[in-house]
Symmetry: C2
Subunit: 338 residues, 2 copies
């Protein structure tokens, strides 16, 4: 029986009896169907018979592997929580590489005295998004730190996927269109509004991208999800690694009016606002119609935001016709959002 | 140029320019030879041509996946540091499953103001053990938390490996010998001595086990590394899952005299003392000589510590002939050691 006043105790992370009990509760919640075995052992096991069923061929495919640490404040925010963002973040890092996620590992470090109800709420949220994305949580670790040694909770996820073809961020070509899979920056708006008690209807855009990228991946020459550092850091990385110039158009900017207003009010560059469920990509002119057609089924706001050409650097073409350089964010960034 | 007074700043984790700079320094240090590609991308990629070269066959092998979070106090201790232990922990979790590690992910959460020299020292230590074990660090994440929001540094590693045959912890059979790959508990002794300023020559046993387990894995019916919860938690788990009784013999106990003295002085059960570079295993009588012969090449203290038989529970047969039950540690455990 769970009493809402129950707290996480140090012994829940000690490796003894209490650790086992907590682990059993976590496992009862995580129910995504999986063909992984030994999930209660030191490591999870995926028999390669399962891989063969997915059409995976040795010598033609790739294993893809990623990790991310999540330390969000607040832990619960409009549109998600630290658990949802941790799972989405790893699914999305695999997806933007063109990989289909096979399984996720879940490592939690939690502060002694943390509400057990909130803890299990986070596990439920993890389960929900794992089921929605059809990516199972297959192995994990839970550690408890003494009070004051960590700020509530930190989650690190890692993920494995397979890809026939890798989408790198160095594949954008001159004449490619630059697209966004929807409005950007809503995750930062949601977190800032919660932290500064600012009223907004904007919720975090946090969501898994694997299904929409799977349907379009063969047409994406370069792809990234603009999380930390926002559009600025990620579009600069694509331009730099692909050795192209990218011109974004102010009139096509993928931000909600309210997001822009908030960025101006706080004096924070809108281009550094992060998303946790959007991607930007470079697409050849011959495929652009097909790609946007598919993406609009997932989000009607998917659109072209600019174009690549020969040269270097990233610029914003303003409505007045001027060119303003967009650079990798330097100096103080916005409060940590993931 | 590194100035020793340099500190980790919040912007080193912000996703902007400073993050890039720190990442470049980390990458310059991590030099283990790897066939993984795209290590600077959102995820690392292992072309399956590489897997084929290792003799890996689809339909006959298994992918193995694990993760662990490390929050050690002190960060530097006799015989290792948080970086070494994080890499060894994940290599060892793969190894005790019978898997050969392919690559490790490295996620670091560090406190603003942490010494940059110490940070890079930890990265160097990670590189050293990764090279020794021949397991590359292939992908990672670095986040910085505001001062006071984390206790110095936390590292989470995840790892992928492949195994033709899985060693589970449910495979011990009646008549199997129970062995230890060396003296146990030295990791806890080293950490306690550092924390309580107690003088000892004992160093942490922290080391990668992949090479010695690779040479013996086909003969191991069950295998675990006695980290958190020590021998007590891990031998109980093997007995329970394998549905056998296990009798350990006091006269063969794998602990140094000084470790036992410390455990008695502090009133902490020696069976809960942790190791970070030892394994325990169940081995059939017909293979025991071969296995010990191999293991003694790695550590002359490898030895038989007990035997499995029909029944249930774990007992210590004392020198006087009595039987004392050994149970999963309950209640307050020793200070966190990994």
């Amino acid at each position: 029986m769970l009493h809402t006043a129950q707290k996480i105790e140090l012994d829940h992370g000690g490796g003894g009896y209490k650790s086992w009990e907590l682990l059993k509760e976590i496992r009862r919640i995580l129910k995504c169907k999986t063909e992984w075995k030994n999930c209660e052992d030191d490591a999870a096991v995926l028999p390669t018979e399962t891989l063969m069923k997915t059409g995976f061929k040795l010598g033609k495919g790739n294993l893809v592997f990623t990790t991310d640490a999540f330390i969000v404040n607040p832990i619960f925010f409009p549109g998600g929580d630290i658990g949802k963002i941790a799972v989405c973040g790893t699914i999305n890092d695999l997806s933007v590489m063109g990989a289909e996620p096979l399984g996720i590992s879940l490592s939690i470090v939690v502060e002694e005295g943390f509400s057990k109800k909130d803890f299990l709420q986070i596990i439920k949220s993890i389960n929900k998004v794992s089921q929605k994305a059809k990516v199972p949580i297959v192995t994990g670790d839970t550690k408890v730190m003494e009070k004051g040694k960590i700020d509530k909770i930190e989650i690190t996820t890692a993920g494995i996927g397979t890809a026939q073809n890798i989408i790198s961020n160095n594949g954008a070509k001159p004449d490619d269109f630059i697209i966004s899979s929807g409005d950007l920056g809503d995750h930062t708006v949601a977190l800032l509004s919660e932290r500064f008690n600012y009223k907004t209807k904007i919720k975090s855009d946090c969501k898994p991208l694997n299904l929409e990228i799977k349907k379009t991946s063969r047409y994406l020459n370069a792809c990234k999800d603009p999380t930390r550092g926002g559009l600025a850091a990620n579009i600069v990385e694509i331009a730099k690694k692909s050795k192209v110039k990218i011109i974004l158009e102010e009139k096509f900017l993928p931000y909600k009016k309210e997001a822009i207003a908030l960025s101006e009010f706080l004096g924070i560059d809108i281009f550094s606002f992060a998303s946790e469920g959007r991607f930007i990509a470079a697409v050849s002119p011959k495929n652009i119609k097909k790609v946007l057609g598919i993406l609009k089924q997932f989000n009607p706001k998917a659109k072209i935001i600019g174009k690549a050409e020969k040269g270097k650097g990233v610029f914003l073409k303003t409505n007045l016709g001027g060119l303003r350089p967009i650079e990798m964010p330097k100096g103080k960034l916005i409060p940590r959002i993931c």
